[in-house]
Symmetry: C2
Subunit: 367 residues, 2 copies
């Protein structure tokens, strides 16, 4: 497990990156409002707070919260002065006025237009500098301690899946399988599921974002199970496809195409390769097999404190793969009325390629 001293060192390193970023953006302070990013930079696991990180260190960075969270903040928050506010906007105003700063960076993809307007009204002297995806880029590169947390989330999810697997059989209801899987993850230490569990059977398996309904599994059904655990603030996200009873030739064929697409994509992953290229390797494999019209979503997405974070693997995304990225590789073929197959594994980018973190079976499981 990750030790506490390690976390404190990580926090110092992360904030150093933020300070570099502030120098580039020419801002004196970073006003952090995203709770996941606040957790990343302090250790605070509550759901409402403000963090102010100064480019030139002010002694300590400032963590602000209301009275509901003060005790928790004093226990959890690392390397920051904890201060209580009655109203968030006033807390921010007081802190920035006391510091006398003018240029304040904010997270453009987090702050709502309404809150932005309130900040502007309440701080007429301050120049707000919207930053795009900056912290998301930093958070995309996982440190070894974060990989440990992600592995733990994957372990919880995978063991839970193994436990529930015998219950995935003809006659079982989609939502009953989802409920049991979530219960198994919670019992093993998940704080919650990362997202609503998907158990999509029969023709529903052709719907990539179906959740789990009242339908009962029947012989011959494809069953797509997409699930994730959130443990210590980090997520897993993986998908298995099964068939109830003996797979048909067509089911086997389509499964083999999806598996081949996933393998080829994973094989090409290494630092320096464009993200879009990995998507297109999988997409071309599916297209060559004649199923190009049935793969409508991106190939993958980063996973960490959020289930969906940077990087995105889509046909027209910019940017390249970097060591430390953790993302899903999840090609699929979805044929309306017939069914779908999706295989989703998580990988961590290493210096020379990638490590497959998921240890679920890749074969078309008969259940």
């Amino acid at each position: 497990m990750v030790r506490w001293g390690q976390f404190q060192m990580d926090v110092v390193k992360r904030r150093r990156k933020i300070r570099e970023y502030l120098r580039e953006a020419n801002a004196a302070v970073f006003l952090v409002l995203d709770v996941d990013t606040i957790r990343y930079l302090t250790g605070f696991s509550g759901s409402d707070a403000v963090l102010l990180i100064a480019r030139e260190e002010w002694g300590e960075d400032l963590f602000l919260c209301d009275s509901r969270y003060t005790f928790q903040a004093r226990e959890e928050v690392q390397k920051s002065t904890v201060r209580e506010y009655r109203k968030k906007l006033d807390g921010i105003k007081d802190a920035l006025e006391a510091a006398g700063v003018r240029d304040v960076a904010i997270e453009a993809h987090i702050v709502t237009l309404a809150f932005f307007e309130k900040l502007r009204e309440s701080l007429p002297e301050v120049h707000l500098v919207p930053l795009n995806q900056s912290l998301a880029g930093i958070r995309a590169l996982k440190e070894p301690s974060e990989l440990t947390f992600i592995r733990e989330a994957i372990r919880v999810a995978s063991e839970s899946f193994q436990e529930v697997l015998p219950r995935i059989a003809a006659g079982a209801e989609e939502r009953q399988i989802a409920v049991e899987l979530e219960y198994a993850m919670r019992r093993r230490g998940a704080q919650r599921t990362g997202f609503d569990t998907i158990v999509a059977s029969g023709d529903r398996s052709a719907l990539p974002h179906w959740t789990a309904g009242r339908r009962k599994l029947r012989p011959g059904d494809l069953v797509v199970v997409d699930f994730g655990a959130s443990v210590n603030g980090y997520n897993s996200d993986e998908t298995c496809t099964m068939v109830v009873g003996r797979p048909s030739e067509e089911q086997e064929k389509i499964h083999a195409v999806v598996l081949e697409a996933q393998k080829r994509a994973m094989h090409a992953i290494r630092p320096g390769v464009p993200l879009a290229q990995i998507d297109s390797i999988a997409r071309n494999t599916i297209q060559e097999a004649g199923y190009g019209a049935y793969f409508g979503h991106g190939l993958g997405h980063g996973v960490g404190m959020n289930v969906h974070e940077e990087p995105q693997l889509t046909p027209d995304v910019e940017g390249t793969i970097e060591e430390g990225m953790v993302f899903t590789v999840e090609p699929g073929i979805y044929i309306p009325g017939w069914g779908g197959v999706r295989l989703e594994h998580m990988v961590a980018v290493t210096a020379e390629g990638c490590e497959i973190l998921t240890y679920l079976p890749k074969s078309l499981i008969s259940c």
Copy 2:
């Protein structure tokens, strides 16, 4: 249960209110991006889409989504033309350009600054009109069919609590209680929990936003359990406080103060009364008893498709109570190091007062 025809009639009525709102705001189209509001106005239960509602009806309103959701949208979405996009921004742009509209209302408390900037760049001809809390105000007034859904969520949560109650006893771990309660709610039909279940025991009960940890219940502990089910898109949110074994005199006294604060506040609820007044009735009761310093949060909040929505009941909120509002009344006393008591009931405002929806025991339960 709510019948489908009823839902369609509700949808027509809700959109009529939106169109009135658009006339006041002098906008031709409402660009709805909040998925809860989209569900409210269409029935769509997926997690990503766009809805365009025109002030002057265009034939039908436009529902836009990507290919992951098209099938689901065609099954679920009422009273709209469903159209698929590859990229959200392009889908919006194409629809607005085809309609030739200039003034487009957006939800200022939902749209992020980054997305707002992208909209502006991609639609230079369009004038974006940010609306504050407009739909929130409409959604705050529940229709009879919505009350049926909320009652159902409360029933699921309450029966689950009754099931788990015997397990809340000395030796049980906080998180184990939370896991069992969530499992019970899921089995009874909850799609998910509305929020992370709180089981806060001993000194942790003094932390209003503690979740549930590894602590085991001990004789004499106060135990605050705050939980909610999400059923058919509607939430419940309720809190019980228990004591392990026999309550002490001080525990009984503080419980009685909180109960009295809640009773007096509920008694004063009726249309036309300022929201802030209800908060202050409870707050004064606690203050008069000498515990004013130990009630740090607002008295309540609206509950519906979101666990926290309009109205807010806080000391300085504006606005008055209206018939059809559904909100929590949740006074508490939290003494650091000693423990806390919170009682949270949901109420629905009627023509003359309020109906208490929660049917959990109000007394200090010994467990």
